[in-house]
Symmetry: C2
Subunit: 340 residues, 2 copies
């Protein structure tokens, strides 16, 4: 038995119905160090934790029928990487690196038959990358770009939230697939630089200091074929004006709309009709059976230098609330990660 | 030469930027009776004129890049049926019935090489049907239902504007294709009756006297697979709440939004993401090369009694403004037609 202390981040309470989320939903609690693994179990030590905007929806009371809500008084869970501390299963050895949909606990026992998603990670790539540029954000870019975007070498692409985890992956993968021009938007000079240097965007628009409408007219005099929408709201309304006929909109997120105070009514949806646009919402897990195919390609593109890691790492298990709340304040550049 | 008088409806002026359309945009003018047809021309006498909601967009100044705007001081044009009065082309004989994209004139000369869309109509079916239940509204239902709706015998379908021309065709064709349940909405008891009796809807909701949100909960306890949106605005916002995961929305029109006073901001578009919905705008002419295939089926279904004509006919060429303005007041049941 270890003498190490163990902790978890538990879901303290639902955010008030018309309030933005704050620190009070998070509760750090000391918990017992796990017992030795029984047959078919592994004892894991968390190495990196991912916080993602969609988790805001999981905090709603009753909430959405799709995302499994967090349970009050239980530990949060999500994408986590870990190291095997002890194993009672032949497939795993102490020291193995893994990724899974795990609890936000420093140490946890995991039954393999309840965690079929658990996956061994290579030793020569930093584990955290599999939460970001080689993980869910990259898969979230890969499938809609291949399924819905109909990219050609003539395509013009605009991406809001270009410096976020998914936004950077959309940039990198669009360049892998080949497009005529890709431009992103973000909220600071630093982020524009990141979008261009890491996300491989041809150009980027600072939506806080520039007039988005005018900037889009300049960047896309002939209009936009594909809009990757990470933010929703008034940005969508502005971009709709610049879409070309038969354009495609990938509805990936609406981070500006997850908190109730952000709800914005989009007025010009008749443009969907007159421009014959298509809009596609998605959730990456719909393609779960195709993850292996995509993962293999992503890792290859990483070795080829076409995918470059991008992450904002906050140090320490105690940083979880700061990291999560930071997502909604625009604190992150690329994937927001907690190094446990 | 005929001694008959000739008239046209001309586009008098653009509606004021923030005003709804009114009678002042229409100008009835006496014009010259056409000369005898030159080679390759036919002289036509209009029999039925179609007025359609999308024409409101064609009235905007500068307007939309997609719909060809009406030109001030020139005759309106659109779907019109006619009879050949005189012909200088071997394919047409006096007395032939035709349909085409023609001017709103009692008599007009048409050059066949400028009107390749001109089509001969059968003598045993009333011409006006080809402007409605066998024409554009039916084609507007046929293509999206087959291309986007993914109908199965288990599909639940909701249609706003169910008693309009397209709405009735959507009902009839959904029944031809086979669905589990189809419910429509309309604004009066008379229209609900029409939707059920002519449109073959299983049930219908009066959105003026019933709470749409509650009615949808009752009609679709397990949610809606396919929403055919003829109206946009707050109706779309309400229906989004009732969509099932992976539902399809066909964006056919936004009649409530064509007039500037109707602009409504839709607040809950994040449901597109969380429910992984797809939305498809369309314009029926995108499938123009497949009209013959569809027309053949529609006429067959008409002979089989599966398609039943539906039209509101106003008598007299002078009724044009009343018919058009009536579209936005909900005066029509089924296709709005002017009998010249």
């Amino acid at each position: 038995m270890s003498t190490e202390k163990n902790f978890e981040w538990a879901f303290a309470k639902h955010p008030a119905p018309n309030a933005d989320v704050d620190e009070q939903v998070f509760s750090l609690r000391e918990i017992e160090y796990p017992t030795a693994p029984s047959e078919g179990q592994v004892l894991l030590r968390a190495t990196y934790i991912s916080v993602d905007p969609y988790m805001r929806i999981r905090m709603n009371d009753g909430g959405d029928s799709y995302f499994q809500p967090f349970e009050v008084n239980k530990a949060f869970n999500g994408g986590v990487t870990a190291e095997v501390v002890a194993s009672n299963a032949p497939e795993y050895q102490p020291g193995d690196k893994v990724i899974g949909f795990l609890s936000w606990k420093k140490f946890q026992l995991v039954s393999l038959n309840e965690h079929k998603e658990l996956l061994k990670l290579p030793n020569d790539i930093t584990s955290s990358y599999f939460l970001g540029s080689l993980g869910m954000p990259a898969l979230s870019a890969y499938f809609p770009l291949t399924e819905y975007a109909q990219l050609t070498p003539e395509s013009t692409v605009f991406v809001s939230g270009a410096s976020g985890a998914v936004g950077l992956s959309v940039g990198q993968l669009s360049k892998v697939f080949g497009v005529k021009k890709i431009v992103g938007s973000a909220s600071s000079a630093e982020k524009l630089k990141l979008a261009k240097e890491v996300g491989r965007y041809d150009d980027a628009i600072n939506y806080r200091t520039e007039d988005l409408d005018k900037a889009l007219s300049q960047q896309f005099p002939d209009g936009i074929d594909v809009y990757w929408d990470n933010v929703g709201g008034s940005t969508l309304e502005t971009v709709l004006k610049h879409m070309r006929n038969k354009g495609r909109i990938i509805c990936c997120g609406a981070i500006s709309q997850y908190n109730p105070s952000g709800e914005y009514g989009v007025k010009n949806l008749f443009l969907i009709v007159s421009k014959r646009l298509s809009l596609h919402g998605f959730i990456v897990s719909d393609w779960a059976d195709r993850y292996p195919e995509a993962n293999k390609k992503l890792v290859q593109w990483y070795y080829d230098g076409k995918i470059v890691p991008h992450e904002t790492v906050l140090e320490g298990f105690e940083s979880v609330p700061k990291a999560f709340l930071g997502l909604f304040k625009g604190d992150n550049q690329g994937k927001m990660i907690i190094k446990v």
